[in-house]
């Protein structure tokens, strides 16, 4: 039987651009280029490797995001994923982590899955909680933050490098996995991959396709509110000296003045 892999990918504003908040305190997506979150490329890569090892596998990439989020799906398809699902609805604007996990979980269930693979964190919200929330909602094992992962005979195994220990984990499928940027370099799409991606199917679903009401998601349904967002004042310009042979001593003098020595 075919191994059904769903990879969740997020469309995010480019971190090297001038990211800021819109008037309603949601992420401004109009003035900064968007792209597939770099950390989700690692999830696509591991999905491709797991699919290679399996006799028969199908990779679906799934995103919840605005119209332009299709770019993220196209990138994942050009890396080699088989098909894509785009959940898009105006009422999703401003959805928080609890709401996003609801929409993703509904879509994953509708798509059908044996294995969900997510990134370790998005590069904009950076919470690192959506995979755990998906496992909770789907009622399946959470096997997260893996720097090494493999699937064999319906069992997923991996290594999680935590703060105080490195752990070997094991769980039966179906399961939710997330992988870190230590899991292995993500491939670049080949020219052939880019051409092939243009013909791969991208389905669009809205809230009604997932039996969700507008009030359950979006700014209105959010469990959290942002009261204000202020730009951090630029750090006051510091003293910069050129080393003419005494640079280390000058720095020591500064540190002593600040009572660090």
């Amino acid at each position: 039987m075919s191994l059904r892999i769903v990879v969740t990918v997020k469309y995010v504003p480019d971190a090297t651009g001038d990211r800021h908040f819109a008037d309603d305190l949601t992420v401004d997506r109009d003035d900064v280029d968007g792209l597939l979150s770099e950390l989700d490329e690692y999830a696509v890569e591991q999905a491709l490797q797991i699919a290679d090892e399996a006799d028969d596998a199908e990779i679906t990439v799934l995103t919840v995001g605005p119209e332009d989020a299709k770019d993220a799906l196209r990138k994942a398809l050009s890396m080699g994923a088989d098909k894509a699902i785009h959940v898009e609805d105006d009422d999703l604007h401003g959805t928080d982590a609890i709401g996003t996990s609801l929409v993703l979980a509904k879509a994953i269930e509708k798509a059908g899955y044996d294995l969900v693979i997510s990134g370790m964190a998005s590069t904009d919200g950076t919470m690192g909680v959506v995979p755990a929330l998906l496992a909770e909602r789907l009622g399946v094992p959470q096997v997260t933050l893996l720097s090494e992962v493999s699937v064999e005979d319906g069992v997923v195994k991996g290594r999680r490098d935590g703060d105080s220990a490195s752990e070997q984990l094991e769980a039966s499928l179906p399961a939710v996995v997330s992988v870190t940027d230590q899991s292995g370099e993500a491939r670049y799409p080949s020219f052939k991959g880019i051409m092939a991606a243009k013909k791969k199917p991208v389905e669009s679903w809205d809230l009604s396709d997932l039996d969700l009401e507008a009030g359950e998601v979006g700014l209105e349904g959010a469990y959290t509110v942002v009261d204000s967002a202020t730009q951090r004042p630029a750090r006051t310009a510091g003293t910069i000296v050129k080393d003419e042979g005494e640079g280390g001593k000058q720095l020591a003098e500064f540190l002593a003045g600040q009572k660090f020595i």
Binding site: R19, A132, A165, T230, A252, F260
Partner: protein
Amino acid sequence: MAEVLVYVDHVDGAVRKPTLELLTLARRIGEPVAVALGAGAAATAGALAEHGAVKVLTHEAAEYADYLVVPKVDALQAAYDAVSPAAVLVPSSAEGKEIAARLALRIGSGVITDAVDLEAGDEGPVATQSAFAASFTTKTRVAKGTPVITVKPNSAPVEAAPAAGSVEALDVTFSAQATGTKVTARTPRESTGRPELTEAAIVVSGGRGVNGSENFGLIESLADSLGAAVGASRAAVDAGWYPHTNQVGQTGKSVSPQLYIANGISGAIQHRAGMQTSKTIVAVNKDAEAPIFDLVDYGVVGDLFDVVPQLTEEINSRKG
């Protein structure tokens, strides 16, 4: 007065510093009730009482070490049901965030991660978060349910505030999901004898400019002269010069020490994301145009192989 649940991060009964910082923040909102799980849980009570815990709920079971995350969520939920707190605070480690999120979902609440400050407000606790590599500061609240908030290390001072800290056994029934993900082997990290990176008052980091694992000794010597932790950029980690556990930045640790010294690090946005909230920032870089200099309080344009050893020697002689 309302009670506030504080999830305790400890190693065999030794309470880690970020948990004591949480007690300081919890006291701004109500009376801290601590939850300590796993081997050594009862031994945490002394330190927690000294810093304001009125009660310490403990539960020891093999499940906490043998299975990932879910047993801890079950226990925290049991504590939530027993106490009906005004808020739940959890240290912002990778695991802490996962525990917090799952608890929030179960109790119908919102979750806020990586707070750097917390105050009482008219409509519940107000968290301060930093966004977009710390270029923005946001004030955030949980609008539904009991706020579940994770707080980054070094976000509050540790304060002595003696309280009863009476130990009570927590009743925990594990859910069906608790044994879903088995931990089949565990290799504890070897201690370096240096302070924990996220908790350290001073962090000394090296980047691609250090040019080889053999040269990281220079960075370590400087760190040791200051009693500091050692950090590294992803370039240095990817090159295999220093362990990933020491990586500072978006996909490594986020640090907020009193002093951060960047050596041979250019200051890419993903590195800044992990260190930009440091109080004092110092850099040594041979390129006067390196973006790291935009952040510094003091910078030396020069070769780190000259500057760092001289600095270390000067510090050691001043101490000596």
